[in-house]
C-alpha cells in the first residue's frame, strides 16, 4: 500500500505536469481538489484515464471521481480493491 501511494504521487505529478511538486510534498490525506494540489476538472479526467490505463479500472460514471480522488489515501485504497492489472 505504501509503495502504491508513492507510485500514485509520482504518476500524478508526471501526468498533471505538477512542476515544483515532489512526492514528499504530497501528504497521503491531502485534498487533491479544492485547495490541496488545486487540481481542476481536466485533471480529474486525466486521473480517470490514469486509472484505466495503468490499473485497468474503468469509471463508467465520472461523477464517482469526486469520491475516489479525495486524497492519495482514498485513491490507493480504491485501486487496491478494484485493480485488474
Amino acid at each position: 500500500m505504501e509503495n502504491l501511494k508513492t507510485e500514485l504521487k509520482n504518476k500524478i505529478i508526471d501526468v498533471l505536469n505538477l512542476e515544483d511538486v515532489s512526492a514528499e510534498d504530497i501528504k497521503d490525506s491531502d485534498a487533491l481538489f479544492g485547495g490541496g494540489l488545486g487540481l481542476d476538472s481536466i485533471d480529474a479526467l486525466e486521473l480517470i484515464v490514469l486509472l484505466d490505463k495503468d490499473y485497468g479500472i474503468k469509471l463508467s460514471d465520472p461523477k464517482k471521481g469526486k469520491d475516489i480522488f479525495q486524497s492519495i489515501e482514498v485513491m490507493a485504497k480504491f485501486i487496491e480493491e478494484n485493480r485488474t492489472k
Partner: protein, 180 residues
C-alpha cells in the same frame, strides 16, 4: 488613426519587449526555453506548465505587455499559419494504437488555436472580444483593420494583436498593443 504603444517578440530563444531584449536562453528546444523564461521572469502562474507549446508562446508574448496594464477593456486578435497542428499531431499519436488507446483530455483541449487566447483571457480575467485567424502569412493590414473596427465600435479601448506561429521547433511571436 491607431497608435502602436507596445510590442513583444519571441524568436530564436529570445524575448524582446519594445525592442529591448529582456530574456535570452541558450536552449534551442522551445519547451525548455519557455520553462526557463517562466522561471526567470517570475511569472508565478502554475497553469502555464499544463499548456501546450502554442499557448505557452502566446501566453509569454502577451504577458510581457499585459502584466502592467488594466486589461478590463483590452481585446485580443491573433493569427498564425499552422493553427494548432503541433498539438494535433501529438494528440493523433496518442490515440493511434488500438491497444493503447488512452486519449489525454489535457492534450485534447489544445486541439484548437483559439485556446491560447482563452488562456490569456483566463489569466487576466478578460471578458472581452477575442479572435484567432488562420492565415497564409502575417497580414498586418488585416489584423489592424479588424482591430480598428473593435476600437471604433467601442467594444475595446485597446487591442493586443499579432502573429503567434509554432510548429515543432519553429516558432515566432510578434504581438503589439493598439489604441486609437
Amino acid at each position: 488613426m491607431m497608435k502602436k504603444t507596445e510590442s513583444c517578440s519571441i524568436e530564436n530563444s529570445k524575448i524582446t519587449v519594445n525592442e529591448k531584449v529582456i530574456f535570452e536562453s541558450r536552449s534551442a528546444i522551445f519547451s525548455d526555453f519557455a520553462k526557463e523564461a517562466y522561471k526567470s521572469l517570475e511569472l508565478n502562474y502554475p497553469k502555464f506548465h499544463k499548456m501546450d507549446n502554442l499557448s505557452k508562446l502566446a501566453f509569454l508574448s502577451a504577458e510581457m505587455i499585459l502584466k502592467d496594464q488594466d486589461n478590463s477593456r483590452t481585446a485580443l486578435v491573433f493569427a498564425n499559419n499552422s493553427s494548432s497542428l503541433d498539438t494535433d499531431f501529438k494528440y493523433q499519436e496518442s490515440i493511434n494504437s488500438q491497444d493503447d488507446y488512452f486519449p489525454s483530455p489535457a492534450v485534447f483541449v489544445y486541439t484548437l488555436p483559439n485556446i491560447c487566447v482563452g488562456e490569456i483571457s483566463i489569466k487576466h480575467k478578460m471578458q472581452t472580444e477575442n479572435a484567432f485567424f488562420v492565415l497564409a502569412e502575417f497580414d498586418e493590414d488585416f489584423l489592424n483593420t479588424y482591430s480598428h473596427q473593435l476600437l471604433i465600435s467601442g467594444k475595446a479601448d485597446k487591442v493586443l494583436c499579432g502573429w503567434v506561429e509554432l510548429y515543432q521547433e519553429n516558432y515566432t511571436a510578434f504581438v503589439y498593443l493598439l489604441t486609437l
